[in-house]
Symmetry: C2
Subunit: 329 residues, 2 copies
DNA sequence: TTGTAGGCGTTATCAT
DNA sequence: ATGATAACGCCTACAA
């Protein structure tokens, strides 16, 4: 394997000089910079990231902490896009990434988690799918041992940023659109998990909307479960004239229930997953670009790791309908 | 951060002795072994994997090379299970993992790929979704620079193993079941991509079956595309009395087409993805446990990395029907 | 059986 | 502006 040493020899300079050029240090003459770059080209040199990680305490590695939604069986779509977006961006930024799942830390203490992450030279973490139930993770964030970026949970401090859409607004928007299109008065709102951060925000969006339009609203805990949403709809669907769901999966469950009951009620979902295109009926939904959000999170993490302070980063969304013929190819 | 040095001091032995205990070397007295382990416990020591990777040339890291199926829009389910299965097993085996995607190496030469992987201290690779079109990857495997495990492609050599089900048999089985259940004579077979390894194997399964049962078979290239399958079915579905597809997605496309044409034909798919449960009609399919397959691949890779020779590893499958009420919760 | 010392490829701190 | 040199944490001959 060809190393920085070879480059140094080839360029006729010291190892440390090569390192400086590689890392864009200021005090290097244009002349040597060129010599070194030429040698790098000639030798096709690529720095060993493992050695770099070991040596420098600042250019650490980042961990993706993914909460695989096993609860719903439709695994994958969102999480994979998160992972992909993050990894691609990381490669662009020259950051090392390892992917981890919540389940790996199931019964671990805070100290064990920290130890493990440190043993991997992790200095930055992106967390996907955090809920209030993950107490140890919340402590981890609080511990300030790592730079963190949280997706879709409003946690911000010195070392922690959050990125995500404005859930309140988005829920308001998609529900309003659906309600106005169908001239509804009584809305059945099926929420996400009790302890989910987005759950509250979205609910507030509905509260604002129903108050503003003078609607009545029945709120049921769907826990992001397609089955629960289905049962709730079977029970209360008929008595309301629109079903607003805090997730697409729940919207699908609701729609399937309505179809079975052979009654029509407009339904809207949240997230814009491809699966929505398969259920026949078109529904309004909030569409997010998960890969892009994740890429932004990675950029934000890099900012934090190089000294930036935690902050809130907003991402975009659109209202959409997923049509079968659009999504297949 | 607490290091091997601290453990050595605490145990009153030399650093190298600690290392020996940690790595289960033979020549260590029971007494010192206990002293060291006690110190490890007390200090909650966890070895730094980055340093280990840098130091030892043998305990390298492994890369997951995933071919994200962008062609079909239903991304995720299979790939994510692969990733999850591999990472979980790797953690168990104490192996470092990084996840990469084919797209990252789109226009890269063999040398560039090798350089990159070496710069990451990669010594083992698991490849998911390989086709004959990935020429550079095939060269990479041939180069013998890394230990490789290929999923679902019959490539075996000194440093390369493959793991996967018997595609010929599985295709034969699921088709036979469907055909016998419905007493069919004329089968429309929609294949996967021309250059996919499994495509041929599955086709051979069909050839064996149709010959054995004396059926007529019409073979169309579906390229794993739901849309193509749909169009093929629209065109030829009526003239045949069963549609056998080399993937679930294509089975769904075929079924949707049949439904639109308002005719019934039994359809069977391949893979057992959750999505199958959403399309209403139940279809036979071959169910694979992707996470488990991937875990086996990781174990096989470890075997290779510790000196084992390449070989073929078979995995299990079952025939199943995906029912909506079974898959939601 | 145990310890010493050199090396893995970088980065970072000093002199120069 | 450049170059020695000491870390970084661990592994592994080799020596004791």
């Amino acid at each position: 394997m060809i190393s920085i040493k070879d480059v140094a020899r080839q360029a006729g300079v010291a190892i440390s000089t090569v390192s400086k050029v590689l890392n864009h240090y200021p005090n290097v003459s244009e002349e040597t910079r060129e010599k070194v770059n030429k040698a790098v080209e000639e030798l096709n040199f690529l720095p060993n990231s493992v050695a770099a990680a070991l040596s420098s305490k600042q250019a650490g590695r980042v961990a993706l902490l993914v909460n695989l939604s096993k609860k719903t069986q439709v695994v994958g779509e969102i999480d994979l896009q998160y992972i992909q977006g993050a990894i691609n961006k990381a490669m662009e930024l020259n950051l090392d990434v390892i992917t981890l799942f919540f389940s790996m830390f199931q019964n671990r203490t805070l100290e064990e988690m920290i130890r493990y992450l440190k043993s991997q030279s992790i200095t930055g973490i992106i967390i996907y799918g955090l809920t209030r139930e993950e107490e140890t993770l919340l402590e981890l964030i609080d511990s300030s041992q790592f730079k963190c970026v949280i997706i879709d949970a409003p946690i911000v401090n010195e070392n922690t940023s959050c990125v995500g859409i404005d859930n309140l607004r988005a829920q308001y928007d998609v529900a309003r659109k659906t309600i106005e299109e169908n001239n509804c008065k009584k809305v059945l709102y099926i929420t996400g998990k009790k302890n989910g951060y987005v759950t509250d925000e979205r609910l507030h969006g509905m509260e604002e909307l129903t108050k503003e339009l003078g609607l009545t609203m029945m709120v049921c805990d769907g826990s992001f479960s397609e089955l629960r949403s289905r049962n709730i709809t079977l029970k209360y669907g008929k008595d309301n004239d629109v079903v607003v769901c805090a997730s697409d999966l729940m919207a699908i469950g609701a729609m399937k229930a309505l179809t079975e009951m052979d009654i029509f009620r407009p339904v809207c979902g949240f997230d814009g997953i491809i699966l929505m295109g398969y259920v026949g009926k078109q529904m309004n939904t909030v569409r997010q670009n998960f890969a892009e959000i994740s890429a932004m999170a990675m950029e934000e993490l890099q900012r934090l790791m190089s000294g930036g302070k935690g902050r809130r980063v907003g991402t975009a969304y659109t209202l959409a309908r997923m049509k079968y013929m659009d999504i297949i190819c």
